[in-house]
Symmetry: C2
Subunit: 335 residues, 2 copies
């Protein structure tokens, strides 16, 4: 008899997640109650923000409780419905969690619009990462043509879109990524003007100077730590810093202390932390723009795909270590 | 024969200014060339930003060169003029430097409006410090009634106005200052709701929690270093941080590294470095408002007054060490 394979939070990690952090179990496949529908997941999205949801420390969203199914968004098909707005056969995106089947009351669930794009794109370039890049870069970064945009984790799902949007805005797009393969991807496939490999063993400061000779007007920050501290030294007067993530810090027990903070004053920098889900009013416009650019091939991105829901914990930790290129997904089932 | 006593920059300090940093000399009293006028200074303003102007490190303004008269704004009387817009007897404010007499072409010089306010006020509550408080708090901080505004260096020329403006906006005003006398001044004379004495030897974190039990919505930052780092831990979601100064850092050779930087992301904080002279368009409106409130007694501030231009170097270092309450001035001559 088929069952619902789920990944539960077993223990809060102190530092990096371990084998003890998650636990896989088998549960009955849910049936919908009145006002609910049941989804069979096809794709699960893995994103750095999830590390904050399993932390004991205060984060920006309610955490996952011990014993709960891990939180995460996915794309799936409605298989059974007692909900007036959703019918069997609908393809939907929502916070269905790390599991094969999910019951939902429809809160926060969106139907995938008809069109030529593959479903997984709605978890990447035309999903939360794409909207994050769009809102952070355009609303907070406000780049002007001719300016230089620097983005860390440039080969990631968000960073890749940031650089391509910067190019669309007429800016110089410079990435920071770990390893030659990622830098090649960012420059050759995504069209960045330059990418600095922070793992090359070279002098990051000098390499940033060479890649952004006129300084940095917008720093889209995904990483934090010493790389951000060095990047701060390249900020121009009146630079903007959309502060999107600090993935280098999420598994550290002692936070990295930022030495070049004073340059934010010297250069009258505007730095703003943001979480894209704080303002859902921006999503429809952003998604419309992004889907157009993706359909035209002006925005693209690779996917790194793990197979089966049981692979999610290892794929998640791999992503936190920078093992992925582009969007990290779990293929949960065939359509 | 009378001469012009001047204070020149003798050497760039490495760390705190010393006796070798400044040099006093006597020069002839200047006479105006065509298009110039000569001012006899009455008051000189001493401000923390001046430390950046004598630093070897990059700052936000052109530095003072070795052998130049120290930069600084003052109030004085025109004694002789070959300038069409200024006449002998005019009272003016401008960047006249640390000296008793100055020639000027009128660039950046403003006439003191007629009215009941004492002249020194135009270097404090109705001058650059007041406008700094006004623009930083209202434009960047954007406090709403009922919110909590925390300001460091609360007994200083800028901080004192910040708290009084916060009260006018209907906010809870909390200061941080060094010593019981400053805290008493801030609460009893300026009307802050609370003030935390960071020199009390107590637990700053606990004392901030008690003084700002609902957290901090606007942190007007003048000081930096460990006090700011602790204050960051009290920021509410969507807090704003007008970053005005980092006076604790100006004489340090190794910058303090900020450990709680990550909370700017967690709480989606907007932090913005600013220098009030970057946008002069805001001054007339701010000065009009401030002079009204000062005339009504709703904004006030003590003055700490050193006597004679030769006292400027010691008074300047004293101010950087926090020796002053309210606005630090040098009385250069009697009107």
């Amino acid at each position: 008899m088929p069952s619902n394979t789920r990944v539960l939070l077993a223990a809060r990690p102190d530092g990096w997640p371990t084998d003890a952090t998650f636990r896989v179990d088998e549960a009955p496949i849910p049936t919908p109650r009145d006002g609910e529908f049941v989804v069979r997941l096809l794709w699960l999205s893995l994103d750095p923000y999830m590390r904050g949801r399993i932390s004991a420390a205060k984060s920006y969203a309610k955490g996952v409780e011990i014993g709960d199914v891990m939180t995460g968004s996915g794309v799936g098909q409605v298989v059974d419905s007692k909900h007036p707005a959703f019918a069997a056969g609908d393809t939907v995106i929502g916070q269905f969690g790390w599991q094969e089947w999910a019951a939902s009351d429809g809160a926060g669930v969106m139907k995938v619009p008809p069109g030529p794009l593959p479903l997984s794109v709605y978890l990447g370039t035309v999903g939360m990462p794409g909207v994050t890049a769009y809102v952070g870069l355009l609303d907070i970064g406000a780049p002007k043509a001719g300016e230089t945009v620097l983005v860390s984790a440039a080969a990631g799902a968000v960073g890749g879109v940031v650089g391509q949007l910067a190019k669309i805005q007429g800016c110089r797009a410079v990435g920071i990524a770990g390893g030659r393969e990622k830098c090649d991807y960012v420059v050759r496939e995504l069209g960045f003007d330059a990418c600095v490999d922070y793992k090359s063993g070279g002098d990051l400061d000098k390499e940033l100077r060479a890649a952004a000779p006129k300084g940095v007007d917008v720093l889209f920050e995904n990483v934090g730590g010493p790389i951000m501290d060095t990047a701060f030294r390249h900020l121009n007067p009146f630079a903007r810093v959309p502060l999107c993530g600090l993935v280098s810090q999420y598994n550290e027990t002692v936070p990295y202390a930022v030495a070049s903070f004073g340059l934010l004053l010297v250069n009258r920098v505007k730095l703003q932390g943001f979480i894209v889900s704080d303002d859902m009013s921006k999503w429809p416009g952003a998604l419309a723009k992004l889907s157009g650019w993706v359909a035209e091939g002006r925005i693209k991105g690779r996917e790194t795909i793990a197979k089966g829901i049981r692979s999610a914990p290892a794929a998640f930790v791999g992503m936190l270590r920078g093992g992925n290129i582009g969007k990290q997904l779990v293929k949960v089932a065939e359509a």
